[in-house]
């Protein structure tokens, strides 16, 4: 066999395959290259030989979305044969997609245990499938018909059963009717019998009637006799009733009295206090009905037990004396609620045959009145408490106002002052009554603007507040009283409104800010002076240098030298000014450091004053022990000395001599005084001399300098633990002095 095939060769084998009427194809690789498709297979695919060598999916694009290629690949991968029967495949035949059914096998062919190709053999079984389909459909139809028949049968069966049941019911009813008929027949017969008996009795009655009539006429006769007796008896009875009425007349009027009384009334009798009589108002008052009549009072109204009203009732009964009580509180259970009411009670003993047999109680409900009174008392108490709180609050407010460091003034809607606290009086220097005589804008105040011009009414902070209705804060004005120096006040003004929002006045609080204003003023002045003082040497310096630059050649050597000298002088002046400014700044920051060393006072005078002595027209004389040793900052004390001496030269130019005196006050202290014989200083200015920014205008003259000298000196001496001061008799010179500890 093997020999036969090998002798055929490949071509021969292929020819056999090609000519086989069984559709056969061979694919290789995962790409499923069509290596062979015989004419039967090509016919099945509806393709020609051009598909050979192509990939299966390219040759038969319609296979996409059908499972075959995936199955083939799976066979390639796994090497497992795949066989299927009656499988549908859609193939494009002559341009249209035709679904046919196939039995087919994908057979892997191995060579040396490795898959080599897939052999695909297929048979078109469409006809068979269609035949099978037909059979299946026919079977389904038959099944359907059978089911329909079965259902129809079941329905008929059901209907039949229903008819059967109805039939049975009708038969039963028929029997019932027949039985009823029989009963009717029997009743009919009984009625007949009764009828006959009735007819017979009727005949008997008719004959009896005659006998009765005879008997009645006999009775009429005897009745007349009885009526006569009766009349006699009634007359007797009337007489008795008349007598009776007379006897009970008094009792009836008592009952009527209780029943018709407009006040609540109650009669209890016996030591069990049985309710014997009670009128409607009392029933309403107690919240009970007539059912309580005949019961013991304390059974009917158990809540009464122990209450004052009940005790009074018992006492009235026991003592036989009337009691009454006004606005008596009593708890009564009405409609299930224990309620408090207030009543005016009146208890009267009920006396029969001279013995107390009960108590009459009258009650008037005064609850609304009592409640109203209580309410009023409560309101009054609350009002008193409120008034107390208000009084305390007022006291507190008064206390605050009186101890306040600020002046407080209150004005009414017209601007009239209605209140001024003690501080306001102190600041303004007026009594309260004087203040209250004025409006806030009274001309007597002499209010001024900060620049000293008169303050127009519309600029007054109180006016601003009253016209705008808005508060004003820290508004500063000046006041010029007629008898003393002007002062400055800062005003806060706030409007006051009533509950309707109408402006009723305002509150002004103010404080004396004269000191603050003075400091500000001093500061402003100082800045102005400082800038002026700084500009003066700068002007000279600038002009000198510009001149040198501009016309150097034109100027003589001598003139140039003078200009250079001027420049240096101006620079030194500037430098001094700047040192002074820096010193004050250091004082402010507490950075003025001491460099203490022991030295003799003569040294100090040599260092600082020799230059001044040389350049001054005045005679400077030393008095006292100049050899005295002190321990201090030589330079700083020198600064103080220089300041004192230059001040003396500057402010007392006409003093022919300046005396420097050294006094040892005791073992601890030495005093150095610089005395001039100038015009002196007015007393009121003396206290300000050592203040910062203070510079006196001396006899209306203005002097150069920053005015910081004495301020700096005071700080230096203070730092040394010494004292500084000035004595001056206006017109007789001044003595500036300081002390140093030894």
């Amino acid at each position: 066999m093997t020999n036969f095939f090998s002798s055929l060769g490949t071509e021969g084998l292929l020819d056999i395959l090609k000519q086989s009427s069984d559709a056969t194809a061979i694919y290789t690789g995962l790409d499923l290259h069509i290596q062979l498709a015989n004419s039967a297979m090509l016919k099945m695919w509806g393709k020609d030989e051009s598909v050979l060598g192509k990939k299966l999916e390219e040759a038969l694009p319609e296979l996409e979305k059908q499972p075959f290629t995936d199955i083939l690949r799976n066979v390639w991968r796994t090497g497992e044969r795949y066989e299927a029967h009656n499988k549908a495949a859609a193939l494009e035949i002559d341009g249209s997609l035709v679904t046919s059914y196939f039995d087919f096998i994908y057979q892997p062919i191995f060579k040396e245990e490795k898959i080599y190709c897939i052999l695909h053999t297929a048979t078109d079984v469409s006809e068979r499938v269609k035949a099978l389909e037909l059979v299946r459909k026919k079977e389904e139809n038959e099944q359907l018909i059978k089911e329909n028949l079965k259902a129809a049968n079941e329905e008929l069966q059901t209907l039949n059963e229903e008819f059967q049941a109805t039939n049975e019911e009708l038969a039963a009813m028929n029997e019932e009717y027949e039985a009823t008929n029989e009963q009717l027949e029997e009743a009919h017969q009984l009625i007949d019998v009764f009828n006959q008996q009735l007819q017979k009795e009727n005949t008997d009655l008719l004959s009896d009637n005659k006998g009765f009539k005879d008997y009645i006429s006999d009775l009429n006769i005897s009745q007349k006799g009885l009526e006569q007796h009766n009349k006699e008896l009634r007359e007797l009875n009337d007489t008795i009733i008349l007598l009776n009425t007379k006897i009970s007349d008094s009792e009836t009027s008592f009952i009527n009295l209780i029943a018709q009384a407009p006040v609540a009334m109650l009669l209890v009798k016996g030591d069990h206090f049985i309710i014997t009589m009670i009128n409607k108002p009392m029933l309403e008052l107690l919240g009970k009905d007539t059912g309580i009549i005949g019961k013991s009072l304390f059974d009917a109204i158990p809540e009464l037990e122990g209450q004052q009203a009940a005790e009074m009732l018992v006492r009235t009964f026991e003592e036989g004396v009337a009691h009454s009580e006004i606005s008596n509180p009593i708890m009564l259970n009405r409609n299930g609620n224990l309620e408090q009411g207030f009543f005016n009670f009146n208890y009267t003993p009920f006396i029969e045959n001279g013995k107390v047999t009960g108590v009459i109680n009258m009650a008037v409900d005064v609850s609304p009145q009592v409640l109203a009174i209580q309410e009023r008392e409560k309101t009054i108490a609350e009002k008193i408490a409120l008034e107390e709180i208000l009084r305390k609050s007022e006291d507190r407010l008064q206390g605050i106002l009186e101890t306040m460091a600020e002046g407080v003034g209150v004005i009414d809607a017209t601007g009239q002052l209605v209140y001024a606290n003690p501080m306001a009086q102190q600041i303004l220097g007026l009594t309260e009554s004087l203040i209250k005589d004025r409006t806030y804008h009274d001309a007597q105040w002499q209010n001024l603007r900060l620049d000293g011009t008169p303050l127009p009414l519309e600029e007054h902070p109180m006016t601003i507040m009253m016209t705008t209705g808005k508060p004003v804060h820290d508004h500063e004005i000046c006041v010029q009283p007629p008898d003393r120096e002007r002062f400055y006040i800062s005003i806060n003004a706030a409007p006051m409104f009533d509950t309707e929002g109408n402006l009723t006045g305002g509150i002004g609080t103010f404080m004396d800010v004269t000191t603050r204003r003075m400091i500000t003023q001093g500061k402003d002045d100082f800045i102005s002076i400082a800038s002026h003082e700084l500009k003066t040497p700068v002007t000279a310096l600038k002009a000198s240098l510009q001149l040198l630059q501009r016309s150097h050649e034109k100027l003589s050597v001598d003139v140039r030298a003078r200009l250079v000298d001027q420049s240096i002088k101006s620079l030194e002046k500037l430098s001094h000014l700047i040192t002074d400014l820096l010193d004050t700044s250091r004082i402010d920051q507490g950075q003025f450091k001491l460099n203490k060393q022991p030295f003799a006072l003569s040294e100090l005078f040599d260092d600082c004053c020799s230059n001044l002595i040389q350049n001054s027209a005045q005679n400077i004389i030393f008095e006292g022990d100049v050899t005295l040793m002190v321990e201090a900052d030589n330079q700083q004390i020198g600064q103080v000395m220089t300041n004192f001496i230059t001040n003396a030269i500057k402010y007392a130019p006409d003093s022919d001599e300046i005396i420097i005196k050294i006094e040892k006050l005791n073992d601890q202290e030495v005093k150095i005084t610089v005395k001039d014989k100038g015009p002196g200083i007015p007393k009121e200015k003396l206290i300000h001399l050592f203040e910062r920014y203070y510079r006196t205008d001396y006899q209306g003259q203005k002097f150069t300098g920053l005015g910081l000298g004495l301020y700096i000196s005071a700080d230096i001496i203070k730092n040394h633990g010494g004292r500084i001061g000035v004595e001056s008799d206006f017109g007789n010179g001044s003595e500036f002095w300081f002390t140093l500890p030894l």
Binding site: S531, H532, V538, Q546, L547, L563, Q566
Partner: protein, 119 residues
């Protein structure tokens, strides 16, 4: 020769101005304070007054007022010099012909003086 009367209390400024103006061929009569100025020879009139404001015994503004109110000085311009910040406020008080703010440029000063004396 154009004649300038200068009142200035600061020695340095006064000296520098004297040197400068003389170097520009002006005749300068300078005074250190109000009393010196008032003691000047009254028969002599300058072509220009140059006043500092802050003087030890008075004010250049008062001097300006006096000059402006004196018919003898009619037509003689007054220039006010000052290191004060509110220089222009002086205008309302004494109505000078010009102002010079200290510190000044000497060129500027010269121009202002030339303008005054020319007109």
């Amino acid at each position: 020769m154009i004649k300038i009367f200068l009142v200035e209390d600061d020695d340095s400024i006064r000296e520098v101005l004297e040197i400068f103006l003389r170097s520009e061929d002006y005749t300068v009569h300078s005074f250190a304070n109000v009393s010196e100025f008032k003691n000047r020879r009254k028969d002599e009139l300058p072509d220009l007054y140059l006043f500092d404001v802050m003087l030890p015994d008075g004010s250049g503004i008062d001097l300006c007022k006096e000059i402006k109110n004196n018919d003898l000085n009619e037509g003689i311009p007054v220039i006010i010099m000052s290191a004060h910040a509110q220089l222009t406020q002086i205008k309302d008080v004494c109505n000078p012909d010009d102002f010079i703010a200290k510190p000044f440029d000497i060129d500027q000063l010269l121009q202002q003086i030339q303008k005054m004396v020319r007109s």
